[in-house]
Symmetry: C2
Subunit: 133 residues, 2 copies
């Protein structure tokens, strides 16, 4: 097995207490979730080809789908220009969100018909936003 440590150590782990944010995007382009990885979780992700996260709430590494079966098969790996963020493209099995939805992200408002400045957010928008958050 190859030693990933030398490579992983070149990423910038200092900005966020040893964690790096990981954007996970499905093959159809939908952004599915934002998770976090530490060195060990990233090593497991690269070695196995399945996405592992460091869970900040549970304070442990978990493979996505280990209990739900909703695995994220790694397809492509991207690093950003600051070496402090990862983007992983995955083949998602089932829903990505623990709430049962395809993505963890829910749309609040489509504003493509609003003017460039002094946007007049309608009361509908406010009500919609309040329901969601």
């Amino acid at each position: 097995m190859l030693d990933y440590k030398q490579i992983i150590d070149k990423l910038d782990w200092k900005k966020n207490n040893g964690l790096i944010p990981v954007i996970v995007q499905g093959l159809d382009g939908d952004v599915l979730t934002l998770g976090y990885t530490d060195k060990e979780a990233l090593s497991k992700t690269l070695e196995t080809g399945y996405v592992h996260y460091y869970s900040r709430s549970k304070e442990r590494i978990r493979m996505k789908g280990e209990t739900s079966g909703n695995y994220q098969k790694l397809k492509e790996v991207y690093v950003d220009c600051d070496n402090d963020t990862l983007l992983l493209k995955v083949d998602q099995t089932g829903p990505a969100c623990h709430l049962g939805t395809k993505s963890c992200f829910r749309k609040i408002e489509q504003i493509d018909k609003l003017p460039d400045s002094n946007i007049d957010y309608s009361l509908d928008f406010l009500n919609q936003l309040k329901e969601i958050i």
Copy 2:
């Protein structure tokens, strides 16, 4: 002008010292960058319709494109299931990355032809990764 404070206060600003990560995605589906926002930057983003960030290195709010002209016109707003991450879909003017590339993310490796486990990373992959990071 509407008061966004009541809404913005419902987002979870505690997990990351008052900052929330913001995934920015172009209209063609490409993920362009990951930035951070505080309450004031998000308020400016929603009010003006142009993406503002809180720059951790410069410790100030800046509108994307304020010096480069590479603005990000806000089109859609998404919130994740934990209310601690935003996804903004934008109409990007020019390159999103300060290095002049369309996206801040660079692909390291395409691994869609590799087996599900015991992935045999080739030496080419290692060399490619070393060049990038």
